[in-house]
């Protein structure tokens, strides 16, 4: 592997780690492990932990994918490996 593609792959993995951390924190973290604690806080009529499990994590997932797609596009162009 030459230097550019090694650097490109490093940048990609760096982004993936960020995405995975957020993915884990909102679902397994806020929605499951810390849900009992978060339920003490309420969001409208929702206990917060319950909200993350039944609503919040899904909203975050959607935003997360579009954010990833944009960042990944930036990385592709930065290393000049994009299509077209």
């Amino acid at each position: 592997m030459d230097d550019t593609s090694a650097a490109y792959w490093r940048a990609t993995l760096g982004l993936l780690v960020k995405v995975m951390v957020i993915w884990f924190v909102v679902s397994f973290g806020a929605g499951i492990l810390f849900a009992p604690a978060l339920n003490a806080i309420s969001l409208g009529g929702y206990p917060l932990g319950f909200w993350f499990a039944h609503q919040g994590s899904i909203y975050v997932f959607v935003v997360l994918i579009f954010w990833y797609a944009k960042k990944m596009g930036d990385i592709d162009r930065q290393f000049d490996v994009h299509e077209d």
Binding site: V19, G31, P36, N39, F50, A53, Y68, M72
Partner: protein, 604 residues
């Protein structure tokens, strides 16, 4: 117009629409049959993926299960959406760059071995057929209500329709039909939810309604629900977890990685024009899925509330005591929707204490206080059995919504079940005809012969799954969860290692897939019967039900995946490295530039 006529009309019109589109977009060559020529734009592909994805399990079954499980049901919501994050970032773009159009093809090429692709076909078939059993259960529920027959007859009718439907179209027909099906099913899901949310909370958005106060009071809907379910001996709605925190954790994980490993979903991302489109497509798919998935918890809670309001009049709105005889409706005075569902055999009443009233409560409650009150009130056990799979379809009837809404929901349920069954059958037919027969046994089979083999494979799959669907291993969503566990434990790790590890070799991948699949199947079959055949359970041999740290068979896929990764890693260390050209192949897959249109059908 009476209800039954309205249902026939609306369902008939929706079917005419799908068939019309299928004829208009009829597939010609093999590659068109499977992948629609690689020219489907991301938003359309996202919508079709959403329809493909949201099956009878999501539409018909899931909210009913959440209604029973409460907070713990969130594992379905997080599990079946979170997988898309994995799919979008870890798999879809790389598989698209790879440029083949089935999962076994990727595994066979990446691990330079026909054994690997054959093992992948076995994993794929096991997961897909289990998945279709769940669909058939759902189809049976939808057709039994739609035609007013028993759920068995419903399954037979469903088998026939699914078969005609899948054999007729092919992927291109399916892609455009699925866009239409998405629109029908999402309207069918959200319209009644909006009505019901307005009725109960005055807020038209179900997502906000679930967090609002009940109409004419300052008590929030969830607080009220917590109160009434507790009064009936059930666990608190907003905190009851699924088994244990550990079980909920691994269950959610299984569904997520299963999502990313399910071949019929992955196949969709082979059909987009570019690698960057594969990333965005997954995002669009999730947008369209999220519309249903954020509505589902509201449907669940509100359906539970409305069911209790029907059976126990007064306890929700007037705070009457549930133990008063007046708070339990008389069987003779039950609403029409109950009579309609009794015909399907999915809703049953048994007057255990002979008072002519319906007592609906949790007779397995562990609360001494509640049990004492129930005994004092003369209750002799729960008398109303409501199959969780009917909750969504019955929901608009329970809320006394107009006939056209009820008809729309029936059409939506059928759309959901048919679209997914069709997508799965495509994956099965591609795996058998292309990867197994053409790839391994008869390399010089003609294109026509290949198509025919694919159609026969579909027919066999429908018969097997319909037969097993008559005695399903669980509710539709539970059975589908088993399928996810199988995909999670077998295919997901192999694909991941194929992309992210240059050094993973064929011995490691094959051993890993087999180990993951076998260990998961043993655990599942021990609970649910060998090949899901009733009476062949061997749960004592593995030390009792849920013997592995209290983990249920539906949740076991994540454990199977760990075994898969572990075995693959060890075997890889003691066998020789993959050849040089494979390592270069992995490097080239990681870079988007140079992606070609999918040509898998003819490249040999």
């Amino acid at each position: 117009m009476d209800l039954q006529t309205t249902i026939y009309l609306v369902v008939g019109a929706s079917f005419a629409l799908y068939i019309g589109i299928a004829i208009w977009a009829r597939a010609g060559s093999t590659s068109e049959f499977y992948v629609a020529g690689g020219g489907v734009p991301p938003v359309m592909n996202g919508m079709a993926t959403a329809a493909d994805w949201m099956s009878a399990a999501s539409f018909i079954s899931m909210a009913g299960l959440i209604a029973n499980m409460g907070y713990g049901g969130g594992l379905f919501l997080m599990g079946w959406t979170g997988g898309y994050v994995l799919l979008a970032c870890l798999l879809a773009p790389y598989l698209r760059k790879f440029g083949k159009f089935t999962v076994p093809q990727f595994i066979g090429d990446r691990f330079y071995s026909k054994t690997a692709s054959t093992v992948a076909v076995i994993c794929l078939l096991t997961a897909s057929i289990t998945y279709i059993i769940g669909q058939m259960t759902g189809v049976g529920v939808a057709f039994s209500r739609f035609l007013g027959v028993s759920s068995e007859t419903g399954i037979y009718v469903g088998m026939g329709i699914v078969f005609m439907y899948a054999v007729f179209g092919g992927m291109k027909g399916i892609t455009y039909t699925q866009v239409a099906q998405y629109i029908v099913l999402i309207l069918a899901y959200t319209v009644p939810a909006i009505f019901i949310s307005l009725q109960l909370t005055g807020n038209p958005l179900p997502q906000l309604g679930l967090g609002s106060d009940m109409v004419g009071s300052d008590v929030s809907l969830l607080t009220k629900l917590d109160q009434v379910v507790t009064e009936l001996g059930f666990g608190k709605y907003t905190t009851t977890t699924a088994g244990s925190t550990l079980n909920m954790f691994v269950y959610t994980m299984s569904l997520m990685i299963g999502t990313a490993g399910l071949p019929h979903v992955i196949m969709r991302f082979f059909t987009v024009p570019k690698v960057s489109d594969a990333r965005i497509s997954a995002g669009w798919a999730l947008v369209f899925i999220a519309i249903l998935y954020t509505t589902a918890p509201a449907v669940a809670a509100m359906a539970k509330m409305n069911l209790i309001r029907t059976v126990n009049p007064g306890i929700v709105m007037q705070n009457a005591s549930p133990y008063n005889p007046e708070s339990q409706i008389q069987y003779e005075a039950r609403p029409d929707w109950m009579k309609r569902w009794e015909k399907t055999g999915l809703l049953k009443f048994e007057d255990k204490n002979g008072d002519g009233r319906i007592q609906y409560y949790n007779d397995k409650s562990k609360s001494e206080e509640f049990n004492a009150k129930a005994t004092e009130a003369g209750w002799k056990g729960n008398e109303l059995t409501v199959n969780a799979d009917i909750m969504v379809l019955a929901n608009p009837e329970i809320a006394l919504l107009p006939n056209w809404v009820i008809a729309l929901v029936a059409a939506g349920g059928l759309a959901a079940a048919l679209s997914t069954a069709a997508g799965l059958l495509m994956a099965i037919s591609a795996a058998v005809s292309h990867d197994l027969i053409k790839g391994v046994f008869m390399p010089d089979i003609s294109e026509k012969g290949e198509l025919m083999a694919g159609k026969i494979a579909m027919a066999v799959a429908i018969v097997i799954s319909g037969w097993l669907g008559l005695n399903p291993p669980g509710f539709a969503a539970g059975t589908v969860a088993l399928a996810f566990g199988i995909a999670a434990s077998s295919l997901f790790p192999a694909i991941m290692m194929g992309i992210f590890s240059k050094k993973m070799n064929k011995e490691g991948a094959v051993a890993g897939m087999l180990a993951g699949l076998v260990v998961t199947l043993i655990y599942v079959f021990a609970h649910k019967g060998i090949f899901f055949i009733k009476g062949t359970e061997f749960v004592d041999l593995i030390g009792g039900a849920n013997s592995f740290f209290g983990i249920t068979p539906e949740a076991f896929g994540a454990i199977g995946a760990l075994v898969n990764f572990g075995v693959a890693f060890v075997v890889d260390k003691v066998t020789k490295e993959p050849p040089e050209h494979i390592q270069h192949l992995v490097e080239s897959v990681r870079v988007p530039r140079g992606a070609k249109a999918v040509d898998g059908a003819h490249a040999h």
